[in-house]
């Protein structure tokens, strides 16, 4: 009998020290310039001369995956609270081999081992070729913002 795998309800799943800690470099010193949901892949951008994070805005492979994590200190889970514009955002720049719970874009069919790339809106979509992100589970056809376990290669 296969083990039941419950939803993790948290964005950073594994990598580094036991418990998923040190899955990457934590950066909590910048605000977001665009409303950002936990689980979105993010990037830094210039907002009128100020560095801010934003949902990854260019569709295609992501060279250095970084993800917004949930506002755990404020009693919020991945689906409880988005980061508002100019809100301090918690981001982890992920290491190779770490895993996270990422948001999938609309109209996607996810199969284990699919390579994933940015859909241009902070969410992930199936890529045509090899990328740095790989799905660890089969979800089938999913609605937008369905979470998927993803590994960083």
């Amino acid at each position: 009998m296969a083990l039941v795998k419950n939803p993790p309800n948290t964005i950073i799943l594994g990598g580094g020290l036991p418990g998923g800690d040190q899955a990457g470099t934590k950066v909590n010193e910048y605000v977001t310039g665009v409303v950002t949901r936990p689980g979105m892949v993010v990037e830094m951008a210039d907002f009128a001369g100020r560095l801010k994070y934003r949902p990854h805005a260019t569709a295609g492979p992501i060279t250095n995956p970084s993800v917004a994590v949930e506002k755990l200190f404020h009693n919020k889970g991945p689906n409880d609270g988005d980061y508002a514009v100019n809100e301090l955002i918690n981001v982890v720049h992920l290491r190779k081999g770490s895993t996270f719970w990422g948001r999938i874009a609309a109209a996607q069919t996810i199969t284990k081992a699919d390579y994933l790339e940015s859909a241009g809106d902070g969410r992930l979509r199936v890529a045509a070729g090899e990328t740095r992100l790989q799905a660890l589970e089969t979800l089938g056809a999913v609605a937008v913002d369905t979470f998927c376990r993803v590994m960083v290669l």
């Binding site: 605000v31 100020r50 200190f73 009693n75």
Partner: protein, 356 residues
């Protein structure tokens, strides 16, 4: 053996067998050239033997022996970080020793309600009332600065009597205190000065008050004009916040305020202003603060209804090492947060001045 005369005067030769001496002279093409060769050879040998000790053949002492490095160090001149310390010294503090466990702190505020009645017997109908009540929350964030050094750099610093951890902890502590004062003056921002919230919560500073007053540059004004501006600021607050007050003025107004008031008053402008009052329990107090931007004057009602400072942790250095101990890491950590309160009608006990 000693001997030999030449244009160079009496020379000293190494003690060599006569036949080797003659051969050497012949090989060099003359006695003087043989002498030069021997001196250079000695010099090179002496240099090679003594190079670990820094000796130079032509110098008496090791490298840089002519220079003494003082223990005293000239640092960069710093502005005083005074405003938050002032509030703490005035007792306007909320201690929060378990701040790690408190992501946000909420202060309730109530409105006014009820009315009194007059009758011969208090059994008339009267009128019930219920106070309005709401709250405002502040994020409990920490302010910190970090540095790290490898084991060899630390050892070198200790050997030289200039411990790297001490100097860097001092600097990091100053930066943390500077950031604490910056939040008290300018409100919560990222390190680029972008106003920010944490989970939707802000932490406004003194200059965020909506009770404002405009004026001309004080350096162009007379004592009487400056006095009038201060009185106008007090009038802005007096109805809802009756004092006592403290006036904070920026450093660029130091000269004008310490100038003579004029014929009507025999002392300086600042001394004249300090005679205003009493408001509440005392006269107006004045502080000149390096922490305020030029031309920004702030009048504060100095009581817990208007402002306080949440103290979870005064700046403290925390250090740890990586696994094998080759690197040591430090964080100077603090949780000190300025709060400014408005009443239920949105009125602050702080008035802020702006250049017109």
């Amino acid at each position: 053996m000693y001997g030999g005369n030449s244009v160079y005067g009496t020379k000293v030769f190494r003690d060599v067998p006569p036949e080797a001496l003659v051969a050497g002279i012949a090989a060099c093409g003359g006695l003087d050239r043989y002498y030069e060769f021997c001196v250079n050879q000695e010099r090179d040998r002496f240099r090679a033997v003594n190079s670990p000790y820094g000796f130079r053949a032509n110098a008496l002492f090791p490298d840089n022996a002519n220079e003494v490095i003082e223990g005293a160090v000239t640092g960069v001149g710093r502005k005083r970080l005074d405003i938050v310390e002032d509030f703490i010294n005035a007792g306007l503090v909320t201690n929060l020793p378990n701040w790690w466990a408190v992501p946000s702190l909420r202060r309730m505020r109530t409105g006014e309600g009820g009315t009194a009645h007059r009758s011969m017997i208090p059994d008339s109908r009267g009128e019930r009332f219920v106070l309005t009540r709401e709250g405002v929350s502040w994020p409990i964030f920490c302010t910190w600065a970090n540095f790290s050094f490898d084991i060899r750099s630390l050892a070198m610093g200790q050997r030289l009597g200039t411990p790297l951890d001490v100097s860097h902890t001092q600097e990091a502590t100053y930066r943390v205190n500077e950031a604490i004062v910056d939040q008290a003056v300018n409100g919560l921002t990222d390190d680029q000065g972008t106003p920010m919230t944490i989970d939707g919560l802000g932490a406004p500073g003194l200059l965020s008050s909506t009770t404002t007053l405009s004026y001309a540059d004080w350096t162009t004004l007379t004592g009487a004009e400056i006095l009038g501006i201060v009185q106008d600021a007090i009038e802005l607050l007096r109805i809802t916040h009756p004092g006592p007050y403290r006036l904070y003025v920026p450093g660029n107004y130091t000269k004008i305020l310490t100038s003579d008031y004029g014929a009507a008053y025999p002392r300086t402008i600042i001394e004249r202003i300090q005679q205003l009052g009493p408001y509440g329990t005392r006269n107006l107090e004045i502080r000149i603060s390096d922490s305020l931007p030029n031309h920004r004057v702030v009048l504060v009602q100095m009581d817990p209804q208007s402002i306080d400072v949440v103290i979870g942790q005064q700046p403290v250095p925390v250090s740890w090492q990586d696994g094998p101990g080759w690197n040591t890491y430090w964080v100077v950590l603090s949780c000190v947060i300025f709060r400014m309160f408005s009443n239920i009608n949105g009125k602050y006990g702080v008035a802020v001045g702006n250049l017109a």
